[in-house]
């Protein structure tokens, strides 16, 4: 992408600010290409460019926002006018306002592989077809694949404001995923696995296919388990999902509005002492790493829970003003929305228990390999959790029969205090979260 075209477009709008008016311009553009393979053929080849512009105006504590899926200069001026008219109707708040640079130096990261833009359609097609073929050839019970997908994309973002913010970044990812169908008699099970990296050469179709197939065939013959209260071993993807929910309660937005179950617990022990939950977008190993947040401030490493103690709440500049502290560089957004507050690249620090050892120590319980209904089944305000699960029973310290059509229930508060073992099998998942296997006591399993 040539020069700083986005930067000059954005600065042109800042020049239109009137006295006492703060303006922030967030511009984004990107391109992506996706290939779906089915039955040895290309099912679809899709490509396109996306443009986006979001303009925020603050006048005397009143904020207005407007966006458009376009970078057309005439439309940007209309967007600015809409944002102004929206600001006039919102109600003032002394905490509302744009931030200037806060002196934190942004990490120097290369988030775009220079070769990603040179990947040809023929290579993309080859990868999608290869992934499907591999998934179909591992196990005779796999009768087909619902979708086999390869996708890559490059995105560029620019944030500038009248308060001196002037930053931007580019990033690219390549990813693949496959959903094989395993059939045994009348029964069908579907599996899923994915991988993501900064270039397709770093993807491993063999491993993705093997894991997806295993997730499908291992569920054949699954039945509803008996209800009971027991210890559950959680797959690292499941741990990542639950910890993301915990993280979502640890934001200045939730705390400010009295909606976080942990809002008044800063400095207190809320989890077992072995738990260390960190949000670290400065780590280039994570695919979710970044350079700046949604307001243009440098990202930083934030320890949320350290040794079981709640050490930090995430803030953007507005919630930080309210709390009398400084932004943690945690503004998250796209071009179509105003900055919220959230996790960027969460990681759970590993413990010292290997997977087999964990099963052996648990003895009798349930291994939860995947969950569904996570968002409908979790109430972030009360902390109540009730989700559907699939996995295996644990008997005599090893994985036993598969189970489905069951739920587990607990609360986020209890779960953090009942993490009895933390795994040593740390891994970055495709979404950029670093996670480990864990064992949790006191889980109510509902089945038959």
């Amino acid at each position: 992408m040539n020069g700083d075209q986005l930067g000059s477009m954005a600065r042109r709008l800042l020049g239109m600010a009137t006295k006492g008016e703060q303006i922030e311009v967030y511009l984004a553009r990107g391109r992506s290409t996706t290939v779906k393979a089915y039955d040895g053929e290309v099912e679809s080849l899709k490509s396109g460019e996306s443009h986006g512009a979001g303009v925020r105006v603050v006048t005397e504590g009143r904020e207005g926002f407007a966006s458009a899926g376009s970078l057309d200069p005439a439309i940007l001026v209309e967007v600015l006018d809409e944002a102004r008219s929206n600001a006039a109707l919102s109600e003032p708040d002394p905490n509302v306002g744009l931030t200037g640079p806060d002196g934190v130096v942004a990490p120097s990261l290369e988030l775009l592989d220079p070769d990603l833009d040179r990947v040809e359609d023929s290579e993309r097609i080859r990868l999608a077809l290869e992934l499907e073929k591999r998934a179909r050839s591992i196990d005779p019970r796999v009768t087909g694949v619902r979708t086999s997908i390869y996708s890559d994309g490059i995105g560029e973002v620019r944030v500038v404001s009248t308060e001196g913010i002037d930053t931007g970044s580019r990033a690219g990812t390549a990813s693949m995923s496959v959903s094989p169908l395993a059939v045994d008699g009348e029964e069908t099970q579907i599996g899923f696995a994915s991988d993501a990296a900064r270039h397709p050469r770093l993807l491993d179709p063999a491993e993705v296919a093997a894991e997806a197939v295993d997730r499908a065939v291992s569920m054949l013959g699954a039945d509803k388990p008996a209800s009971g209260r027991m210890t559950a071993v959680l797959d690292k993807r499941v741990v990542a999902s639950f910890m993301a929910l915990v993280g979502a309660t640890l934001t200045g937005e939730m705390v400010r509005k009295g909606r976080s179950p942990f809002g008044d617990r800063l400095g207190e022990e809320i989890a077992v002492s072995g738990l260390n939950l960190v949000d670290d977008p400065t780590d280039p190993e994570s695919l979710a790493a970044g350079i700046h947040d949604g307001e243009g401030l440098a990202v930083r490493r934030n320890v949320l829970i350290g040794g079981g103690v709640l050490e930090r709440i995430l803030h953007n500049s507005e919630t930080a003003r309210w709390a009398g502290t400084r932004s943690t560089g945690s503004a998250v957004r796209g071009s179509r929305s105003t900055p919220g507050v959230g996790l960027q690249a969460m990681r759970i620090e590993p413990g010292d228990v290997g997977f087999a050892d964990m099963l052996a120590r648990v003895g009798e319980g349930v291994y939860i390999r995947s969950v569904n209904g996570l968002h409908s089944g979790t109430n972030l305000i009360s902390g109540d959790v009730s989700v559907g699960i699939q996995g295996h029973m644990i008997r005599d310290g090893a994985l036993a029969e598969p189970v489905r059509e069951a739920t587990i229930a607990t609360t986020l508060q209890r779960m953090l205090r009942e993490l009895v073992m933390i795994g040593s099998d740390f891994e970055f998942l495709p979404g950029g979260t670093g996670s480990v296997t864990m064992a949790v006591d006191g889980i109510a399993l509902s089945g038959r």
């Binding site: 089915y38 053929e41 290309v42 099912e43 679809s44 080849l45 899709k46 490509s47 396109g48 460019e49 996306s50 443009h51 904020e63 207005g64 926002f65 407007a66 966006s67 458009a68 899926g69 376009s70 209309e78 967007v79 944002a83 008219s85 929206n86 600001a87 109707l89 919102s90 109600e91 708040d93 979708t147 169908l181 059939v183 029964e187 069908t188 579907i190 509803k224 209800s227 509005k257 009295g258 909606r259 179950p261 179509r336 929305s337 105003t338 569904n372 209904g373 409908s376 089944g377 109430n379 305000i381 009360s382 109540d384 009730s386 989700v387 559907g388 059509e405 229930a409 509902s446 038959r448």
Partner: protein
């Protein structure tokens, strides 16, 4: 939206190097959202998005490209990209476009964009005041207003040419109540494919009051039971269950890939006698109402299960073409950046004959679900999970105590067979957004009060 000759030349360009079928989809959408939270009108946001998606089909392969550049050069460039896989060399045939079918303008009573923003903001303040007035325990209120207008044009090389102008308006109130037992939440949403006349039909006060009472009631709630129980689902609150757990399995694309439990079962009994499941995009005012689908096909009323017997699946252009079936107006996409696929519109279970009160009275012990939240389904197995956001225990045929939030879990095909009572009080439910392969589209759902013989409740009480 786009000059006919430009549409025609783009189709010609798309088939210049071969291909069996080409389509141009043009979209122009605008929306306004306003939110009051924590006692303050926090945010008004406006958005505008327009562009085109061009599709070229060659054999079983689809090429697709999208662009926000609606000039001739932008459209022709996208057409050439979409045609990347068409290498036959001989240009494909393009039929001439007739006059467009579908809506050419909005058919609402009051176009929301004609009402000034201050009036809309006033609705938020009123909802906040009303909800807080219901009880001192209401500690937080969020009120949202949103309006959206989506104009589309679809034309293809088979000569189909259609337009639509979809206007939707929505209002929702969420509350938090705080008591000795902790915090509980309530939510009420009203949304229709109508204009600002939504507020002539629904009172903001009533929406706010319902949301507040739901949270207050749950403060007294006890943990939900754990295990299998009969479940009575209130009218208009459980259609989403049939949408998720049965509807998706009736989408022809999933059926064709063997990813549906309903594959190969046309003509078989798949539900209890008396159960009729319908998808109907023509229901005026409902959230899934469309005049045409996103492939230019007029919406229709389509019976999927009749008196317990599976009659048909839902079809888009691609599957209908592959299997020689008629299109049913179920080809939809989230935006011009997406490829269409088989999607539902308004999906519902038709009325039965029983008195809803008698259904409750005839249940010695069970759970009454007054409101279901979101859910998820595994279409290959039909296993589903749904959140109950307002539920009560049934003891001796009477509703007794409110229950805390918990999930319901079951199997879609089994639920259809396990419906053992069907009320005569049909109602459509709240507006929904259906997700499939990463695309969300507006859908409606509905059902009368009904009872499922047994479902698993994922609570914590023994």
């Amino acid at each position: 939206m786009l000059d006919s000759s430009l549409v025609q030349s783009t189709l010609t360009e798309a088939l210049r190097t071969g291909g069996d079928f080409a389509e141009v989809f043009v979209e122009d959408r605008g929306s306004l959202g306003a939110r009051l939270d924590d006692g303050r009108v926090e945010e008004l946001t406006t958005s505008r998005d327009r562009g085109a998606g061009i599709r070229v089909i060659v054999g079983d392969s689809t090429g697709f490209a999208h662009t926000s550049d609606l000039t001739e050069s932008g459209l022709h460039r996208a057409a050439a990209t979409a045609a990347a896989m068409a290498t036959a060399g001989k240009p494909g045939a393009v039929g001439s476009l007739g006059n467009p079918v579908g809506r050419s303008g909005p058919d609402v009573e009051i176009l929301p964009e004609g009402i000034d923003k201050a009036t809309k903001v006033e609705l938020l303040r009123r909802a906040d005041e009303t909800a807080r007035g219901i009880g001192d325990a209401i500690t937080q209120v969020t009120a949202r207003y949103s309006e959206g207008r989506r104009r589309i044009l679809v034309a293809n090389s088979e000569g189909d040419h259609a337009t639509d102008d979809q206007v939707r308006t929505l209002f929702s109130v969420s509350t938090v109540a705080t008591g000795d037992s902790g915090r509980q939440t309530g939510r009420e949403t009203v949304g229709h494919t109508v204009g600002y006349e939504l507020f002539d039909r629904f009172s903001v006060d009533e929406i706010a009051e319902k949301a507040a009472r739901q949270a207050l009631t749950k403060l007294e709630a006890r943990p939900a039971p754990s295990g299998e129980l009969p479940v009575v689902i209130a009218r208009g609150s459980g259609g989403v269950l049939f949408h998720e757990a049965c509807g998706h399995g009736l989408e022809a694309d999933l059926v064709a890939k063997g990813a549906s439990v309903f594959a190969g079962r046309i003509g078989e009994r798949v539900a209890a006698p008396g159960v009729t499941l319908v998808d109907d995009g023509t229901m005026v005012g409902e959230w899934g109402r469309i005049a045409i689908d996103d492939e230019g096909r007029p919406a229709g009323r389509h019976v999927l299960i009749e008196d317990g017997v599976l009659t048909d699946y839902m079809w888009d252009h691609l599957r209908a073409r592959a299997e020689g079936h008629r299109r049913t107006g179920n080809g939809r996409r989230q935006t011009y950046r997406h490829l269409p696929m088989v999607r539902m519109t308004n999906t519902f279970v038709e009325n039965g004959a029983e008195d809803p009160q008698a259904i409750i009275a005839g249940t010695p012990r069970g759970v009454y679900v007054a409101k279901l939240g979101g859910g998820q389904v595994n279409t290959a197995t039909g296993d589903f999970v749904f959140g109950m956001v307002e539920a009560y225990l049934i003891e001796d045929g009477r509703l007794t105590e409110p229950l805390r939030d918990a999930n319901l879990i079951g199997n879609g095909p089994q639920v259809l067979l396990d419906i053992d009572a069907l009320g005569n009080d049909f109602a459509m439910g709240p507006p929904g957004t259906c997700g499939k392969d990463g695309q969300g589209v507006p859908v409606g759902d509905g059902q009368p009060t009904l009872r499922v013989r047994r479902l698993t409740i994922g609570g914590t009480a023994a």
